[in-house]
Structures are given as structure tokens and as C-alpha cells.
Amino acid sequence: MRLDRFEIETFGALENFRGENLAGYPVLVLLGDNEAGKSTFLEFLATMLYGFAPADRAAHPYAPWSGAPLSGRAGFTLADGSSVAVTRRLRHTPEGALSVTGIASGDAVAQDNDAGNATAACSAERSIGNRPLDCVGPVTRAHFDSFHALRLSGLAGLDEAAWKAVEERLLGGCHLPALNTAREATAGLDARAAELWRSTPRGNTRHRRLSVNLRRLQRERAGAAVRQRRQLLLRELLAGKAWHIAGTQEQLQEMRSRLQRAERLLPVLRGLQEIEVLRKQSAQRLAVDDLPENSATHLTTLRATVKEQRATEARLDGDIANHERRATLSLQDTSILGVEQEIRALVGEAAVHNQDLVHINDLDRARDAQEALFAERAAQVFSVRLDGSQRETLSRLGMAELAARVKLWEDARRLPELAQDEVRQAKEAVHVCELDFEAIPNIDAEKKLRAREVLLRELQGREDVLNALKKDIEASKAPNAKKDKPKGAGRRLLAPIGLFAAAGALLASLLTGGSTSWAMLGPVAAALVVAGVVVLRRKPVAVALMPDEARAKAQGDECTKLRTQLGLHEFETVESQLGPSQQALAHVAARPELERRLVSARQRVEDCVKRVSVKIAERDKAHASVTQHLQVLPIAPSRLEQPGQDLFNDIEELRGVLREMTRLLGEREAVARRAREREARGGRLAESLEMSLPGNAMDSATLWLDRLQTALSAKRRAEESSKALPGLRENFREATERRALSEQELGLFEKRLSQLDFEGKSPEAGLRWLEQARTWLKDADAMERALHEQFPDWKERGDEARTALAAGETLDLSTEQRVALVRNIEQTAAGLATLCEEQAALQVERAQLSAQRSLCDVDGALAALAEQLQTLARRHDRLALLAAVVREADLRYRELYQPPVLKAASAHLSAITGERWERVEVERTAEAGAPRLFVKRADLSQPVEAGQPLSRGLREQLQFALRLALADQMDGAQPLPLVLDDVLVNWDASRSQQGVAMLKALGARRQVVVLTCHAGLAEALASRAGAHVLKLPAPAAVTGNPSARTEAKTPAKPARKPQPNAS
């Protein structure tokens, strides 16, 4: 398919632009400046082929701002020679018309005809709306934009990332701008799938989060199942409890009824029976009651009287025996009373003895304290613990001698340090002298300094003369200029005088050798001599004749010359230069003095060093003296290092402690001796009395005193008993008579009572029977009254009970039976209460379990969660399957299309580069879906990856070759025109020529449209490739009107959105 003619009515900035008879040219060149409309023409051509995109004029980027519709027409010549003319217009809706002219034998024409049977030559126009021309074949607009309409921006300016994206788009199967790359698509799918589920335990997938909930619910379900089973068990338990409670209640009711009847009748029956028994028993024992009412009291009184009389008799007998025994003293009391005075003396000394013992203890504690103090202080002085002999040695140590030796050491120990200080001071003095000596300039420097000083003096003299001349000149210019003469005569008079004075000074300076202050006059005198000679040699006539200005000028020149020689600037004064020079020369003059000072300082250093050695020897001798004196004691070595006054004081303190300890020991011995003597005396007394004492004699002093008091008391009691014995014996005889009468009366009464006791014949038993018989009668009467009061109907109950007994009913429950029955009732009631409590507890537990989450509820949540998991798993698997499908499609694409594409691209690249680069390859790396593009240079064995650092031009040429190959691959029966929008601008001259040749060859197969702003390229294409050049109209000129200027500059730029294939 070739573009044969076109006519652009209005399309962007282009208006009424047309071209005809173009199909015969292999290459068509549109030459225009920037903004002339080259890209607009490309868009126009695509629109003619495919229709308006977008189909809305308001949104179309090339809609003229004038409001006119986009409109144009084009004619194409097909491969079979037929022509297709298309007219398109976009006002509000896209319109299109197609007419076919010529022999329409091709498929394209046949497809363009709605009837499908147009095989004859015809010229019919029909509406095609906004549909593409059918003759474009399988090449979609996206294909066309990618492979047939090549812009420089699509090939150039690619960074690394963009370059790889281009590779993937061109070679990765997704070569269309409308398509995402397979790698991007699969990566996105994989990422989405991985967010949902992963086969590995990595990552926090949604499936995993839900699984956590699922496990929690499963655990909760296990708990709910346990609760459900527990509820089942509770139901059984509750039923059992209910049955148990009902049986127990029935049993309890029966027992309570039985007990109630027995309790109603039995008391009455038993009361009546007891009354009858009591009366019968009383009659059997006591038929007639003739005994005193208070028989027991009477019997007791009789017995008490007899007993009292017997006791009185026995007491009197005992008193007599006691008094007879107390009237005699024991042998021991007699012995104690014999040594009464000795015992009293011993007791008197007991207090003193105790005080002595306390004093001994105090002395022992004080001595222990002194011993501890000594041990503490001795540990600071001695290296070992002192034994007795060493302590004796310490006590006898000559302290005066020690004090003298310590004093000697104290005096000698600091002398070496003082001597060392003197050595340092002497060395510092030597150092100072050496520094001063080093500051003296050497001989050459001294000569230079002296020469410079002479020059400085001369300069100073000349400048003084010059200043004087300047004053004279100023004065001569004044009205009294006559005064100049005497001054000039005076100056001439003073010159010889100054000359002689200077010569004298110079002579004096030379005679003194420059070492005194005369030396300072040397240079000055020399200068004066020179000045005087100069003055004297001047002739008066000449002086008179030389004007002052000329002299001043001559002096000024001399001064300038001298300053130049000295290297002085105008602003530097001579005085400031003379100071340092004079100072340096003064150092030279002081050299002998400095030498003497240095020798003296060094001598002093040697003396001081010797003195240090002497002082150290003296110190060591003093130290040895102290050590020798103390060698009898184990003094700690650390203390001997500095045996000063503190050591002396510590030893003196230890000696004091030893003295105190000796004093305490003596005092203790004296006190202890006195105590031992007293104890020996007491021991002898005890031995004489043959007494055994628990401790020593002095500890038993109080016991001695108690024994003595006891013996004295026994003596007094013996005297009293001897007086009381006769009266006691008379009283005893009277008491014996009274006792005999009372015993006779008691015997008669006991015999009467004994008759009431049928078995034992005992008066006490008879008395009890008497009381019992009387009690039985009383009890029977009382019971009858009580029965009446308690049971007013006791007679009826009694009759009822007797009737029941006669009927064989057991009313007469024994106490054991009754107690057992009551206990049984109580136990049964308690059991019933326990059962009720257990039932209530079970009911509470059941209610609690019922209130918790049921198994049904948990299962519902579980089922919902399981469904979510299933849905999620399906979504994941669907994404994973889709990713696999895309990968498979990508693989198939490469297998289908890559080899021919790469082969053709290699050929194109070889042609462009003059066979320098010969092959294009694609290599799949280990990373799936990420192929890499390689190019091979003819002279290299290995291909190079098509990226950095290959040149931009080469990469553009590679992309250009690839797209040409892809265009060839995509074309159908009608090869579409190839539109190149300034794609050759970065090519060098050689490759541009190769490119032109290749375009010429390409133009034979398909029409090539080159859009360029370079006239040279257009000419080259015209001359070498037979291209036809169309010149685009120049862009509108800029006017003063801002709106007009904007319209003129960018008439065809997208106003509302970028071009569809701008990239």
C-alpha cells in the first residue's frame, strides 16, 4: 500500500496541504521546520488509515482551534494496482467515506466492499464511519504506532530501566503499547496470589490469618463439645438426683408418722406404768413408818458425836507425845550452838569476800582490754605476734638511744632531695647560658651586620643633611634670605671640628676592640669622618655656586641609592633598622662573659652531683643505725623503711600498754590471796562440825547462819514443852469417859435401820431404803399430778394406749429405738438436703453451661470461616493458574515470532552499520521472563548486551532495525507505509549514508515517508534514494497579540491531552 495523494483541509496546524502522484516514489520526504506539522502529518496519515482516535472532536488533540472540523482525504495505491480513496471528517461524530478504483481482485478490496462481490472495476463511494481501512490487514493501530510510525522519542533517550522495558515490549511478547509485559503481569499475579496463600510458612498471608482464627474456633469447638457432653451427663445426673430425692422424701414421711404416734401415746402409757410400780415398791419396804422424819440426820448426828469425841481423845494423846519429844535437844543443834561465835564472824566477812571476787573479775577484764589493745597496736609495728621474751625485750628497749637515732635519721633523710634540687637548678642555669651562647651571630653574620650598620649610619647622615638642605631652601625662599650666609659659613667652620671629633672617636673605638661602649661610636665616627672629608674637600666657590636645590637633589639621589643597597623602603626609618643590628652586635661583645658563665654553671652542676651522693650515704647510715637498734625486735619491714618519729611513738605506746598490764596483774594477785585465806578458814570450821557444804565455805555463809538460828529455836521450844505436859494428861482422862456413852446410843439406832435392809442388814442401806420407800410414794403422787397437767386427757390416752397394746401395736419404743429413729430421720433429712443442694448445684452448672457458646454457634462460625478459606484458596489457585497461562503464552510468542524477527533485524542492523554489527540475539537468563537483547560485533567473538555502555546512536539503530523487522512480521498482504519522524538525526555521516541506501532498498518493498527538518537529509534522500520532497508550510509568525502568538507557535500541539503514541 502506497500513499498516492492526500489533501489536508484542516488537521491541526495544517490547512489546505496536499500532494499528488506520490506512489511512484520509493521515499517521500516531508521537509519542514520545527512546528511546521510533521507529526501532524503522521497523525493525519494514521487517521486516514484507522480513523479518528479519539472519535470526539472536543477531545481530539489535533482539533483546529478555529472550530473547523478535522477533515482530509487520501488515496492509496494497493499492491494489485487498484486505488483506494478515503475521506474522513470529524465534526461532531466521525464520518468516513471510501471509494475503490481499478481492478479489485485483492482481498482488501473485496473486504472493503459490503456486498463482498465487487470484482469489477468501479468507483463507488460508501460510508465507513470511523472504522479502519480493511486493507491495513492485521496491523492494528497499536501495531502501526509501534512498528510503522517511528519517532525519535521512541528510540532515543532511554535510560537503563526504559531500555529494558523496550526490550521486553519488543522481544518479550508484549510489544504493543496497549499491553503490559508478561513479566509485569505474572509478577502482579504472583504477588496477588502470595498475599492470599503460600505453600511455605513464610509471610503473613490472608489465608494464614484466617487459619489462625480457624484454629482458635476449632479449639473453641472442642470446648463446646466438652460442655455439650457435660450437659448430657448433667441431664442423667439430675434425673438420678430427682429419683433419689423423691424416694428419700417418702421414707422420711413414714418415719416421722411413726415417731409422732409413739410420742403422743407413749408418755401417758409410761407414766401410768411408772406410778403403779412406785407405789408397789414402797409398800413392800415400809409397811409402817415409825421412824423419825429426819432419820438420816439423826444417825449422822450420833455418828458425828462419837467421831468427835474419839478425835479429841486422840489429839490429846498426840499433844502429850509431841511435848515430850520437843523437850529434848538434838546433838547437831548442841554442836552448832557450841561454835556460835565463829559462825557469826565468818558470816560477817562474807560481804567483803564477794566484793573481792567482783574486783578480781574487773581486773581480769581490764587486763584483757589492754591485751587486745597491745595486740592491735603491735600488729601495726611488728611482723609477728610477740611472745613473752620479746615483750620483755620491748620493755627493756633503750628508748632514749632509739629517740636519738631516729632524730638523726629524720635529719638526714631529706638531704638527698635538697641536693637533687640544687642539681636541677644548676642544669637549668647551664641551659640558659647555652641558649644565650647560641644567639651570638657567627663571624660572617657579624661582618655583614657591621657593614650594614656603616651604611645605615651613612644613610642617616645623608638624610640629616638632606633635611637640613630642605630647610635651607625653604628659608631662602623667605624674605630674609640674607641670613643664609652666616649659616653657610658656620657650617663650613663646624666641618673640620666634626672631622677631628669623629677621627678621635674612631680611633678610640679601634683601641678598645669594639667590646665597650666606644664600639658604638665606631661606625658613627667613621660616618662623620667621611662626611667631614667630603665637606672639607668642597671648594667654597663651588659650594657658593651650587644651588641648594641641586645639592638636595644630589643628596636625595645618594639616599635613594643607599636605601636601595640596604633594601629599605621609603617608609622605613634608619632608627628602626639600627636597633636590631646594634642588639646583635652587643651579643657579640658579650661572648667572653657568656663563656665564663657557662663554665661556672657546669662546674656547679658537678659539685651538686657529688653532694647528692654524700647526702645519700649519710641518710643510709642513719637508717642502718635505727635498724640495728631495733633488730632485737621483729619490726615490720615496711615500718623500717621509714623509721621515723611515728615508729618511735608506736613503740613507746606499746611499752606503756605493757606497763599497765603488769600493774593489773599484781593487784589481782593480792586480792585473790585474801579471798583464798577466808575460804580456807570456813573450810576448817565445816570440817570441825562434820558438815558437807554445796560450794566453798564463803559461798555457804548464809547457810551457816540459818543453821545457827534453827538450833536456837529448838532450844526455846524444849523449854516451853516441859512446862505444858501435866495439864494435857488430865484432859485426856475426861474425854475417854464421854466417848463410851455416845457409842452405846448409836448402836441401838443402827440396829433398827438395819432391819429395813432385807439383804445386807446394813444401817446405811436401811436408811437408803427408808428414804427410797418414802421417795417412791412422793414420786408416784408427783407423777400423777404432772401427767394430769401435761396431758389433761391422760386417762383417755391411757385407755387408747392400752387398747393399742392389746391390739399388738408397738408403741413402747425403747429409748434406743427412739433415738435411732430420730437419728434416722435427721440423717434422712440431712441426706435429702444434701441431695437438694447437689441438684441445685447441678442445675446451676447446667445453666452456666447453657449460657456459654453452644456447639451449634461455634460450628456456624467455623463453617463460615471454612467457606472463606475455600473461597480464598480458589482465588489464589485461579491467580496462580492465570500466571502459568500468561507465562506459557509468552513462551509461545517467543517461539513463534522471535527467530524471523531477529534474523531480519540482524540484516537491517548490518546494513545500517556497514556490517560492523552483524547479529542480534536474545538470550534467556536464569530469571524466567526476563530475556536480554545482545548484539554481536563482527570483530568480537562474544555478543554484547544491548544496553549501557553502547552508544545512544547504536541503540537507536538497533531499535530501528528491530522495528523494521517487526513491521515486516506484522504486515499483511498490503505492506503499510513506513513513517520515520526524524529518526536519523543521531546517526553519523557514514551510517546516514548507509541508512539512506537502506531506505532506498526498503522503498522498493514499501513506501517510506521521512519527516525531517534537515534540508541536507532531504537532499541526500532526493539525490541518492530518488525521494520526492514535499515542503511543509512554514509555521505561523509570532504577532504582538499574545493569543495569536500562542496559536501561531503551537497550532498543532495537544491542547487537552498528549498524543496517543507520543512515547
Binding site: 503499547p177 499491553l179 451449634c856 463453617a863
Partner: protein, 465 residues
């Protein structure tokens, strides 16, 4: 009523017979009540309300029996879920059945595979009413004579139960033939081979319509298949009443029981009575391809719900549904009190696909819709993204020499090429263990629905798609 091959539509029920034949056997047939069975819902509060709704439906069932003064209530198995039955529900069931017994209505309960009649089962240990109640727990067909209030026999019920959950014997063949002129009704919990949706249920007591027809019974009260349907072809009328209330999103539509009248002679009539107070519905959003954003999506879903609710109201316009807790029946009140469990499946082309594919936005939208529609009785709105994608023109890319065109070709091949499917199957699948090759293939092919559009979505750039 519907044919055997199609589930009974939610057609307007017939009006209650104004004057049923005097000697006709009238009963209510229900099955698969599944008390205390789990409701498939993730929200705890909503699940609690569904649980209450299940009880309310059962209460309405009893009210229906009392109101209609039927002779019997036939429960064709799975009255409850054996392992999950709580004692509160047990007491509730016994209380309701005691009401019927006290009212002279006979209750015949056949044990199903979820409430087996084994000695360890709950049914065997429950304190059922002692009069006018029959629990059929074993395989042996058990005959129950139903009498009217005057003592006259109005019908016979012959039923079988299940002592085990996995009962694969064809017990329909064990039923004796009908005899006498008293209407005989079969009561059976079984999977009839011709039933729609039977594959979703285990093969419990599998049988065929021929087995049922061989008995000569006037009516078969069936249970086990949850989809309400009836079979009448050349034999007695056999009906699955469906569940009393839906438990899963798939159990859509109205649920309830059948009011059956079996005259001594003449046709058996059935009326469906909707008793469930909660409806599960799966909505399809109309015009999905033109919905551009989530707000428009929300509006469309609302509109779809209102249309569905309006259709439901019209279905129940003449339905004399029993009211809750014994209140007088009022259809309008029942419809107004209807609660909805909505599931919206989003699949196909939609400009807002990018937003709909985001789970967080989808959940947010579901919450908004639930809040908006709550005044209209909606308990829950669940949005399922089942393959929604942005608009993709597939045909223009088929056969094209690019990756997308080849992807479509591969997808087309996957539908028939087992080898290719096996080669492209992911190494590990989240939803299939892959041990069974056939099952794996079926699973993978089930994933292919709409996957071509998904491929277009990932391969075509959005701006140029």
C-alpha cells in the same frame, strides 16, 4: 406443585381449603428442621438472631397445625442435629409437641440421619409426650393410625427411621403395600434419585420414585433433600418439604412446611406455607458492566434487593402465614417482619473492578449496605468477588499475534487439553490436594470460568483497554 425434574417454584400458595372433605386426612408435612444446626454466618450476633429465627419458625409450624386443626404433624427426619442439640432446645421441642398432643394432634417423627434413633441418640432419651406422639426410630416400617377427634380413623402413616447416620440401605423397599380404604401416607427420610439437588446430600436410604410408587400410598412425606420439590409422575404424590428455615446461603427462597389434604378419594392437595422468618438470597447486580464506582454499585445492590423483596411480598400476598408466637396470622406483618441474609456475587465485566477486587473496600461496602438496609430487615450483606473484571474486549484480541492473543488460545486449549492443564497446573494448590488427578482436573477447570477476562485485565493496559 411442580414436576419431578424441577424444584417447586415459590408460586403463590393455594388458599386453604374452605371445606375439606369431612373424612379427609389433613396433616402438615415438614422435614429437615435441623434445630440447633449451625447457620453459615461469620457474624456472631447475626448467628444468634438466626438461631432465634429457627425456633420461631418451629413455633409457627406448631401454630399452623393448631390453626388448621390438622390431624397430624409428620416430621420426615432431621428434626434436630443430634450432637448439637441443646437442652434448652430439647425442652422447647417437647413443650411445643406437648401443645399439639394436648390439642389432639398426633405427632409422628421419623428419625433421620442427623437425629438417629439409636439407643445412644438423643431422640431415644428424650421425654417425648406420652400420648399422641410416635417416634419411629428403626428400620422396621411402623404403622400409626391417625384418628379424628371423634375417634374415627382418618388415615394411616407408615414410616421408617434411621438407627445409624450412614444408612445406605434402600428402606423404601421395605414398606408394606397399602391396604384398605383409609388413606395411607409414607414417611421417609431418604435420597430419591430423581430429586433435584440430591447430589449435595449423602446417599442415605437411596431409592427411586419407582420404589415409592410400588407401595400404592396416597402420599409420600419425604425428607433429607433440602430443596422443596414434588414428584407426581405416574404415581403417588411424593414431596420434599424442604428445610423449615435456610441454614446456608445456597438455601435461598422461602422455606416452611406443606399443608397436605388426602381425601378418601380424589387428588391429594398440598399447600406450601412459608414459615421461616429469615430468607437467604443471592442477588445478581443488574447492569454491572455500567457501574463505574462503588456508590453506583451500592445503589444497584439496594435496587436489586428491593426488587427481590417486592417479588417476595407479591409471592406472599395471599399467603396465610402463621404469625410469630401464636399471634393471629397476618401475611403483611410476616412479610414486613421478614429478615434477609443477602449474598451478592459479583462476576463479570465492571468498570469499578479495581475497587471491587480490593477486599477492604468490599468489606466496607458490605458494612455500609448492611447498615443502610437494616431498617428493611436485612441482617447481613455479604459481597463475594467471584471474578469481576474491568471491561475487556476479548474477541478483537483472539488470534492476534501477541501474548494476550496467545493467552486466550492457551485458555481455550485448557478446556479440552488435559496434558496442557497438567503441565500448567501450579505445583501446589491451596484448594485441592491433588491426589486425585480427575478431581484436580475438575477443580482446575472450575477455575477457568471467566479467567479469559481476568487475563485481559492483567495483560491489557487500563488506559488503552
Amino acid at each position: 406443585m411442580s414436576t419431578a425434574s424441577n424444584p417447586a417454584p415459590l408460586a403463590a400458595p393455594q388458599a386453604a381449603p374452605q371445606s375439606a372433605p369431612a373424612n379427609a386426612f389433613r396433616f402438615v408435612h415438614c422435614a429437615d428442621v435441623h434445630l440447633d444446626s449451625p447457620f453459615l454466618c461469620a457474624n456472631d450476633d447475626v448467628r444468634a438472631r438466626l438461631h432465634d429465627a429457627g425456633r420461631a419458625a418451629f413455633r409457627r409450624l406448631v401454630e399452623l397445625c393448631l390453626t388448621e386443626r390438622v390431624h397430624a404433624l409428620l416430621v420426615a427426619g432431621d428434626l434436630f442435629s443430634d450432637e448439637r442439640l441443646t437442652f434448652a432446645t430439647e425442652d422447647f421441642v417437647l413443650e411445643q409437641f406437648t401443645r399439639l398432643s394436648a390439642a389432639g394432634i398426633h405427632v409422628v417423627v421419623a428419625c433421620g440421619n442427623h437425629d438417629t434413633g439409636s439407643s445412644e441418640g438423643r431422640a431415644a432419651r428424650m421425654a417425648w409426650p406420652t400420648s399422641r406422639f410416635t417416634l419411629i426410630s428403626g428400620h422396621e416400617p411402623q404403622e400409626v393410625t391417625i384418628t379424628a377427634a371423634d375417634g374415627s380413623t382418618v388415615g394411616r402413616v407408615i414410616g421408617c427411621g434411621h438407627a445409624e447416620a450412614n444408612d445406605t440401605e434402600n428402606i423404601a423397599a421395605l414398606f408394606p403395600a397399602a391396604s384398605g380404604n383409609v388413606p395411607t401416607v409414607g414417611l421417609l427420610h431418604a435420597r430419591v434419585a430423581e430429586a433435584v439437588g440430591m447430589q449435595r446430600h449423602p446417599a442415605v436410604a437411596p431409592c427411586t420414585l419407582a420404589d415409592l410408587a410400588a407401595t400404592g400410598y396416597r402420599y409420600w412425606a419425604l425428607g433429607h433433600v433440602h430443596t422443596r420439590q414434588s414428584f407426581e409422575a405416574a404415581g403417588p404424590l411424593a414431596c420434599y418439604s424442604g428445610t423449615l428455615i435456610g441454614h446456608r446461603p445456597e438455601e435461598t427462597g422461602a422455606h416452611g412446611a406443606l399443608l397436605v389434604t388426602v381425601p378418601r378419594s380424589g387428588a391429594v392437595t398440598t399447600e406450601f406455607r412459608a414459615l421461616a422468618g429469615v430468607r437467604w438470597e443471592t442477588l445478581q447486580v443488574p447492569g454491572l458492566a455500567s457501574i463505574a464506582d462503588l456508590s453506583a454499585m451500592r445503589a444497584s445492590i439496594r435496587e436489586a434487593f428491593y426488587r427481590s423483596a417486592a417479588a417476595d411480598a407479591s409471592v406472599h400476598a395471599d399467603c396465610d402465614a402463621p404469625a410469630d408466637r401464636g399471634a393471629p396470622a397476618d401475611t403483611g406483618a410476616h412479610v414486613a417482619a421478614m429478615r434477609w441474609m443477602l449474598r451478592v456475587e459479583l462476576s463479570g465485566s465492571c468498570p469499578a473492578a479495581g475497587e471491587l477486587q480490593r477486599d477492604d473496600l468490599l468489606e466496607e461496602l458490605a458494612e455500609q449496605l448492611t447498615a443502610e438496609l437494616e431498617p428493611d430487615g436485612v441482617l447481613s450483606v455479604e459481597l463475594i468477588e467471584a471474578g469481576v473484571h474491568r471491561p475487556v474486549e476479548l474477541d478483537s484480541h483472539r488470534g492476534q499475534p501477541h501474548v494476550f492473543g496467545l493467552s486466550l488460545a492457551v485458555l481455550d486449549a485448557l478446556a479440552v487439553d488435559d496434558e496442557l492443564l497438567a503441565s500448567l497446573a501450579p505445583a501446589t494448590l491451596a484448594g485441592c490436594d491433588g491426589t486425585d488427578a480427575a478431581a484436580k482436573r475438575a477443580y482446575l477447570r472450575s477455575l477457568l470460568t471467566g479467567i479469559d477476562s481476568a487475563a485481559g485485565e492483567v495483560l491489557l493496559k487500563e488506559t488503552l483497554a
